[in-house]
Amino acid sequence: MTAMTETKRKFEVWDIITWGFLALFVLFLVYPMYGILRQSVFAADGSFTLEQFNKFFSTPYYSSTIINSFEVTIAVTAVTLLLGIPFAYFYSFYQLRGGKFLFVVSILCCMSAPFIGAYSWIMLLGRNGVITVFFRDVFGIRLPSIYGFGGILMVQALKFFPLVFVYMNGAFKSIDNTLLEASENMGCTGVNRFFSVIMQLSMPTILAASLLVFMRAFADFGTPLLIGEGYRTFPVEIYNQYLGEVGTNHNFAAAISVIAIVVTAAVFFVQKWATMKYNFSISALHPVQKRKMKGIGGALMYLFCYGLTALAFLPQLYIVYLSFRNCDGAVFKPGYSLVNYQYAMRRLLVRSINNTLIFGVVSLALIILFAILIAYLVVRRPRPLNNLIDTLSMLPYIMPGSIIGIALVIAFGSQPLALTGTMTIMVLALVIRRMPYTIRSATATLQGIPISTEEASISLGAGKLKTFLTVTTPMMANGILSGAVLSWVAIVTELSSAIILYNNRTITLTMSTYAAISRGNDGLACAFATILTALTTVSLILYLAISKSEDDIKL
């Protein structure tokens, strides 16, 4: 009975905002997407052709990338579930000493820059990695190669399992203890209860986490680029076709992009369809009491949780260690100094940090502003046009970052709207990339706020605008803040769209790190990576210190 159904509607400010967003979305989202589609089917002379698609599917060299991407992404998703679900179960159902610490560290792992994990593993287990060299020289054993499928799987699984962990943690927390007692009462305990009750209750969350991991892993560009080598995946192929050193083909890159979007969209809809079968929501009135760990089982749980976290995080600490080692080009030498940092100062360190911070602050401000306004339009003014805005705003969710980068270059590479090489286009890409996540959390927050609070404000004499500013927005603040900090970290570590759009003036910390890695300046790369890691760590710790509980974290 609370829905504001209106037959004769008066014109209001929100109508202008609706049209404003439509215009923005058409210009910066639909138009660039159309650009990619156009480039994929029109040859240079303007004639319509499906030759690029034909080339992709008929040449195993190219079509194998789609199979490779699928293979490795599905494997990654499965492994993250296998790692993340038990981790979350132990964390939520048992008194795990140092649990908070493990939580923060695992978040740090998944929020690190996309390629730092791959890079550190190469430094450890690569051809000249310390462990490889140690085994070869001391034992004469040749360790298996880290490059290819196995390497991508290991690096991505260790990077993304915390996503599953955080999601499942939320799901387990919302399971009411009485449900577990009831199942025990009916003779369902132990492993049986875990699979037939706990997992079933968590199914919507498992599906949501799977989708998130799939999308992230599928679109991940940094990891396969560094560690994939002969195992070629989609995003790398798009990048090579667009910006590679030999034989670029923009039309072909566009065609692969279109195929990639179709694939991710299909996965997205399959997940939505699967989720519909689990149309229930749970909330715990009686939270589960954490049990004590005992005996060998307890020891194994500790070993699993700490071992996994260490495996995911220690390689990154190794990079920090290396950054203080003496280094000459690609060769680390004995002794410690700040020589790598001094070198970094001469290599645009200050500009990189400045750009990173400026892009981050501006993008984040825009994202928060847009998310609040769009959430309000969608939740409080449910009209066809606003639903269209909602749908459009979710488009970037299914678009890998490198494709967004390419789309923006195609759309704004020439007059009348030449933006390439400017700060504007960098900010634009960041806003487009992160906005869907913040809009989701803002919308969910607003849906949880009863409209009567705003009506109370209006009946107490506050106008619509004043109510929005002094009542609606502050009430949404908590929900938005939790999403915003993580958006901030994601923006700071953005690689896939930035690699296509950046230049010397708009270089960021992530891009500086990547540039150093690709030039083989390992000492320099470690210094940049360490500063980047420090920045994300400080952001996250600040956030955790401010926020009341770690349960608010939304990824």
Binding site: M1, E455, S459, L460
Partner: protein, 399 residues
């Protein structure tokens, strides 16, 4: 207590509604509803969920659009007046306390939005915090308050702006039973003290009886009966009102006129004389006899309806008997508990009607045939249920 919170210096506002129409899309949920609410009156809209009572309240508040008809506060037509300018105090079902402001800021919020003298805001808020006995909670945040305390904040906030009209939408439904009784007494006292025209929505008939000067019983978007709690209980306008307010035993009967007297023949052949039938209804017709459980008397003699006791429940003050007539109808009887042993199940008894209190309705239940019905409803429904005006889809959209 200061003057500004008392009833003397406040002009009382009369609410008049003429032919109100509410549509949700193509569904008409209220059509042609008219209502007159006196100044300073505690007026309650009572009905089952989905009957349109909250819809009507929100039309008065300005949160629902009005598709037809006129709404007046005294002589001012408010149909097109912005909700912020209607000078209404509203209390919501979930209290709608601003969670990011402390109690004082919540109460002062409305004052700051009006042309209220800045220097007096603090004192005005204090006055109403004291009136609601929450002055010691002024610096608390809403999350630290109990449900009852939040309700008091909501009421203080609504009254603080000295509105023309106070609207309350099921304000007690989120409280536990004991607190509900306590708060409804408090609400009634405050309303008496402030003397503000109040429209109150509830589906709880006991609550409505406890607080209201007058009650409008609504069903399916139509007002069935407007009257004092006493009148609505004792002389309900139709069968819907009789069954919705309190409990009623309903029996089929036949009215005959014998020597100018109304004689009603009941199921077992028992005959009762009604002395208060309206003159125009004094004719042979089938009737519905509505007897409340306390209006049936258990007798030992040969007079009355023959019946057998099925079960009895001792509730302290009263004892409830579940009985079936030998013609098959089941009835419920309430007697004051006596010191003697209660009547055992299986016992054959005789039931007599208190014909001064029992009600007679025409066969379709749409009219009370007795004198003494005082119905201020300005749109007398066509049928008892009034359902003809409302499609099933319309009902669905209400809930």
């Amino acid at each position: 207590m200061s003057n500004s919170a008392s009833r003397r210096d406040r002009p009382e506002v009369v609410i008049n509604i003429h032919d109100a129409v509410k549509k949700y899309g193509g569904n008409t949920v209220i059509s042609g509803l008219s209502l007159h609410i006196n100044g300073g009156e505690f007026f309650t809209l009572l009905g089952p969920s989905g009957c349109g009572k909250t819809t009507l309240l929100r039309m008065i508040a300005g949160f629902n659009t009005i598709e037809g008809g006129d709404f007046f506060f005294n002589d001012t037509r408010i149909n097109d007046l912005d909700p912020a300018k209607r000078n209404i105090g509203m209390v919501f079902q979930n209290y709608a306390i601003f969670p990011h402001m402390n109690v004082r800021k919540n109460v002062e919020f409305g004052l700051k939005n009006r042309n209220f003298e800045r220097s007096k805001i603090h004192d005005q808020a204090d006055r109403f915090l004291k009136l609601m006995q929450i002055d010691q909670l002024a610096d608390r945040m809403p999350a630290q308050l109990s449900g009852g305390q939040q309700q008091r904040v909501a009421l203080a906030r609504a009254l603080c702006i000295e509105p023309q009209v106070l609207l309350m939408d099921e304000p007690l439904s989120n409280l536990d039973a004991k607190l509900r009784v306590e708060m409804r007494t408090a609400i009634k006292e405050i309303q008496n003290h402030v003397g503000i025209t109040t429209v109150y929505v509830t589906h709880d008939q006991e609550e409505a009886m406890a607080v209201s000067d007058r009650i409008a019983v609504m069903n399916a978007g139509v007002i069935q009966h407007v009257g004092t709690p006493k009148n609505i209980y004792q002389r309900p306008a139709n069968v819907f009102v009789a069954t919705f307010i309190g409990r009623s035993n309903m029996m089929e009967g036949t009215l005959r006129v014998e020597a100018g007297r109304a004689v009603v023949e009941l199921p077992t052949g028992y005959q009762a004389v009604f002395n208060n039938v309206l003159p125009e209804e004094l004719k042979g017709q089938k009737v519905k006899v509505c007897v409340r459980p306390e209006e049936l008397l258990l007798e030992n003699g040969d007079e009355g309806l023959k019946a057998v006791v099925d079960d009895c429940v001792f509730l302290g003050l009263n004892t409830h008997y579940f009985i079936h007539l030998i013609s098959g109808e089941k009835v419920e009887v309430i007697q004051e508990s006596t010191i003697d042993s209660i009547i055992e199940p299986g016992t054959e008894v005789r039931l007599r009607l208190n014909t001064d209190k029992a009600n007679l309705f025409c066969e379709d239940g749409s009219r009370n045939l007795l004198a003494g019905v005082k119905n201020d409803a300005q749109d007398v429904p066509a049928t008892a249920q009034g359902g003809v005006r409302l499609s099933a889809a319309g009902l669905a959209s209400l809930s």
